[in-house]
């Protein structure tokens, strides 16, 4: 018979319980969604790179190496790969020869290309409406598309190392037979080798390659943006998934605890009577533990299952974004069980804690009720006596129920954090493109030669040089540029917008922030080509958030790194230059990068929108549950105040006014929390990646976040006020008489 009590009470107080059920639903859904996603991508990624022999490193030399000799000497698997960029208007297809030992292609659909055939990556195919069996014309020759492929070293398919986002409309990869590919490359200007194996002494290997074959590029796997970015993204997603769902779960447990504790307090007479009639503690507890059980049943189970159901499209979206093939469909039972059962542990513990107080009391104490007696001296709060009566009452109301205000503060802080993360992330990407590629890097084209040049044949172009290093003691890749002293193409500015002169050595803000570097510090750099160590004193820091880079004048660059005076390796230009292909190692079109960003911004926006919606709902639910709890608890007082002649607006201020303070406190707390999160991401997650985001809680982001949360707050406030309006003093008096 007693088992009917919880269901009836849940139905009576449906808004409060529904709020908690929604929160539990969300935490289970989030956990299931993200953990299944992360596990799927993680496992598929690991299987892919293992089974298809991902490279340990690759290198480019000017002359061909003796593959057998080097392989044997260093106990490596080395394979040469032909590579050619086919430009079709504003699109580029990077075609490789089929490899057999290292970075073997995975054909997800179709077959490996035979003669006169080509396999392309599925994203490029989809974005350009190309299907298996279609004919694809390359310089007048017809190739049949034989299948879709994935390459273990092109997981994140970006054209240039500097690109931030893949752009399948304008760039893709493909493979074909070496014989077919050779017809497009009349003579090789450099040689690309992929290697797999463990090298104990890279310096020796690099020295040998450099001295015998002239080493142009040497890149280890962890340094390869096209490989490492996926791992980094997964590392980033994992804590986010666990932290977000964990926090929502804890908040809902605390809310449940507060609601249950109040409920038990309000029912003390009935419970005491049941005790008196002979029901045991155990029987009564069993009745009250049904509350968390029902919440779990209605929240966690659908949440976990819907999360599992939704994870499939999300996995598909992410694998296409990260270009990880789905080799095995993984059903992470463990993750799903955690998503469903961990809320039960939290919920039932919270329920038990709320009931425990009751279990300790005698029958008489329970019947008598402890609620009112809890107002002891400390609740007099004489300090507030100087304030106006209404304000004093409002403050007292909040201070008497600090625990729920703390929950509100934390809930709002957390929602602020998520929203700011979304807004700042979105605008950081925008700023990166606008600031970096409009105001700082003014050139439109970059060309890098495969050999040092002495004479600049292009009068409108500007010379520069580039060398790759590792920051000593870290895995960070640092690129040092030598540019014209009075460069018109690269305009480095300080944090106040002042133009920096290139008298000394200037590093980017992203490098400085990641390693806590200041002007006056000295950094030690190890050359990636020959392993030589250089110590450079930092003179200034430029407000550049892309690239772990350093800049100096070209003359100084040549002098420090022992290069010939006036030599340079690349050109910056406003216009497209007609440089023979065979003399170049790479070229970059800035428009391409901006276009890639714009195409991708839309898909990122969709993820961000989910984030906005979630934080909005989170804050709305938390504020609503807490305010309706306050109103339910103070129903009688509100009724009395109404009889005395208080207006509804005044009562709303008195009983819900403290929420304004908590809301503002929560919001203010969210901003430093956001900064801590960002610095964690910068330091722990993006530390080893040549990429940085200027994620600042600037005025605009803070303002927009505030407005969104304020709307959630005002809606819940409006709902709260409506509940205050609905309290009838006549009914309160009648209930009392009964």
């Amino acid at each position: 018979m007693l088992n009917r009590i919880p269901i009836r009470i849940i139905i009576r107080n449906k808004s409060q319980f529904l709020g908690i059920i929604i929160l539990v639903f969300f935490s289970s859904l989030m956990y299931a969604l993200f953990s299944i996603l992360v596990t799927n991508i993680d496992m598929n990624y690991k299987n892919f790179i293992e089974r298809y022999s991902q490279e340990s490193f690759h290198f480019i030399t000017l002359s061909p190496i003796n593959v057998d000799e080097i392989s044997k000497k260093y106990n490596l698997e080395v394979e040469e790969r032909l590579s050619w960029d086919y430009d079709l208007g504003n699109k580029t297809l990077r075609i490789f020869s089929i490899s057999n030992r290292v970075n073997r292609p995975l054909i997800s659909k179709g077959t490996l290309p035979k003669s006169q055939e080509i396999a392309i990556d599925p994203n490029f195919a989809q974005a350009n409406n190309l299907k298996i069996g279609d004919n694809f014309s390359i310089q007048g020759k017809i190739f049949k598309i034989s299948g879709y492929l994935y390459l273990p070293d092109y997981i994140y398919i970006i054209k240039n190392e500097q690109d931030m986002l893949p752009d399948p409309i304008h760039f893709g990869v493909g493979i074909m037979n070496p014989e077919d590919l050779k017809s497009f490359i009349p003579y090789a200007t450099h040689h690309y080798y992929m290697a797999r194996g463990k090298v104990n002494d890279f310096t020796q290997l690099k020295e040998e390659l450099n001295s015998r074959y002239k080493l142009l590029v040497f890149q280890e796997k962890w340094d390869n943006f096209r490989i490492i970015v996926t791992e980094k993204k997964m590392e980033n997603a994992k804590p986010m998934a666990y932290v977000i769902s964990g926090f929502v779960l804890i908040i809902s447990s605390v809310l449940l605890f507060i609601v249950l504790a109040r409920l038990i307090d309000s029912m003390h007479t009935e419970i005491g009577t049941l005790y008196a009639l002979g029901y045991s503690h155990r029987e009564i507890s069993k009745v009250y533990l049904q509350f968390p059980f029902y919440i779990w049943l209605l929240g966690a189970i659908p949440g976990g299952l819907i999360g599992y159901y939704l994870s499939d499209p999300l996995v598909k979206f992410y694998v296409s974004f990260l270009n990880v093939p789905v080799i095995d469909k993984i059903f992470p039972v463990k993750e799903l069980l955690i998503a469903i059962f961990s809320p039960a542990i939290f919920m039932i513990s919270a329920g038990y804690l709320a009931i425990r107080r009751l279990l300790k009391m005698s029958v008489l104490e329970v019947i008598k009720g402890e609620t009112e007696k809890s107002f002891t001296k400390r609740y007099r709060l004489s300090l507030l006596n100087g304030l106006s009566f209404k304000r004093r009452l409002m403050l007292k109301q909040g201070l008497l129920h600090l625990s729920r205000e703390i929950v509100l503060i934390l809930g709002v802080a957390f929602a602020t954090l998520i929203l700011l993360y979304g807004f700042a992330g979105g605008s950081a990407l925008n700023n990166l493109v606008n600031d970096t590629y409009t105001n700082i890097f003014k050139y439109n084209y970059v060309y890098i030669f495969n050999n040092y040049q002495r004479e600049n044949k292009y009068s409108n172009a500007e010379r520069f040089s580039i060398l790759s290093f590792n920051l000593e003691g870290t895995k960070a890749n640092v690129i040092i540029y030598g540019i014209e002293k009075d460069s018109k193409m690269v305009s480095l500015r300080g944090d106040r917008g002042e133009l920096l002169t290139l008298d000394g050595f200037v590093i980017t803000r992203s490098l400085a922030d990641k390693f806590n570097l200041r002007p006056g510090d000295t950094i030690s750099l190890i050359s990636k080509i020959d392993g030589k160590k250089y110590s450079l004193k930092i003179d200034n820091i430029a407000d550049v958030y892309i690239g772990n880079s350093g800049y100096m004048s070209l003359d100084k660059f040549n002098q420090i790194f022992g290069l010939e005076t006036d030599s340079f390796l690349g050109l910056y230009s406003f216009e497209k230059l007609d440089i023979p292909r065979e003399t170049l190692i790479s070229s970059m079109d800035k428009d391409y990068l901006i276009k890639a960003f714009k195409d991708n911004a839309e898909s990122i926006n969709k993820i961000l929108q989910v984030m906005y919606f979630m934080s909005f709902l989170l804050s709305l639910t938390i504020i609503y549950i807490l305010s309706s709890l306050t109103i339910t608890e103070n129903r009688k007082s509100i009724g009395i105040f109404k009889i005395l002649g208080y207006y509804d607006g005044e009562l709303s201020y008195i009983f819900l006014g403290f929420n304004n303070i908590s809301f503002l406190l929560g919001f203010s707390l969210g901003i430093p929390m956001f900064n801590v999160l960002v610095s964690y991401i910068m330091n722990a997650v993006l530390r080893d990646v040549d990429f940085s985001m200027n994620m600042k809680a600037d005025m605009k982001n803070v303002f927009v976040t505030f407005i969104v949360l304020l709307i959630a707050f005002l809606i819940s406030r409006y709902l709260g006020r409506r509940r205050i309006y609905s309290i009838s003093p006549g009914i309160i008096l009648k209930e009392q008489a009964e």
């Binding site: 007099r380 009566f389 105040f641 008489a737």
Partner: protein
């Protein structure tokens, strides 16, 4: 007239049954009097008090208090009426438990521009010494004295007391009645007490007897006794 009630009707529906709580009530009262509404439980006393207090509405008829036609007012105007003109005293005190004695009194003082000094009023009811206490720390009689202080501190034109002594022992009940008498005399406040206790009715200038929602008698009492003389 200070209060004019004419042809007042009010009924409730409980399930399928219609209960006539007030049937065609008509009476008029002057300002500054001490009145008693006498009747057994279920006679309609509380319903009439609630309508006079603006916390319930009439089905038909007219109620005018101090020039305001309550039956024509909307909820906001009724709140205004309670705020400016009315004090309430209940059988179960209805103090706000989270507020101290002093704060409970301040809670109505706040509503009035020309109210009385809370300190004086608390002294008058003998509760100044207990001003820092919470309601649960007080006896029933003490709580009712605080409720009286809360009702009169805003210097209302009318104080409605619904069974103010119903939950008190004789001694405490007499103290409460003395206080109400003093307030009536001292501040000229009109007081209406709803009670089932006939002994109290002897204090009134006018006695209205209610039975099953009907005003059965309207008695003028030319020589009311003092609270001290009331015995039951």
């Amino acid at each position: 007239m200070f209060i004019e009630v004419s042809n007042l009707k009010k009924s409730y529906r409980v399930g399928n049954t219609k209960i006539d709580a007030l049937r065609d009530i008509t009476f008029a009262l002057e300002k500054g009097g001490f009145y008693v509404l006498l009747g057994p439980s279920g006679s309609g006393k509380t319903t009439l008090m609630n309508i006079l207090g603006g916390i319930d509405t009439a089905d038909s008829g007219k109620v005018i208090v101090d020039g305001e036609e309550l039956t024509a007012l909307n909820q906001k105007s009724l709140t205004n009426y309670r705020r400016k003109k009315l004090g309430f005293i209940f059988q179960f005190y209805n103090l706000v438990n989270s507020l101290t004695v002093y704060e409970n009194v301040l809670s109505t003082k706040y509503l009035s521009e020309d109210g009385l000094d809370p300190k004086d009023v608390l002294k008058t009811v003998g509760m100044w010494e207990h001003r820092e206490k919470f309601p649960f720390e007080l006896s029933g009689g003490e709580q009712q004295r605080v409720a009286i202080a809360r009702a009169v501190v805003k210097n209302p034109a009318l104080v409605l007391c619904d069974e103010p002594t119903g939950a008190l022992d004789f001694e405490n009940a007499k103290k409460v009645l003395e206080l109400l008498e003093n307030i009536n005399k001292g501040y000229g406040t009109t007081i209406i007490i709803a009670t089932h206790n006939t002994a109290i009715s002897k204090m009134a200038h006018k006695i209205m007897k209610l039975r099953s929602g009907e005003l059965t008698e309207f008695i003028d009492n030319p020589s009311p006794i003092s609270a001290e003389e009331v015995i039951w």
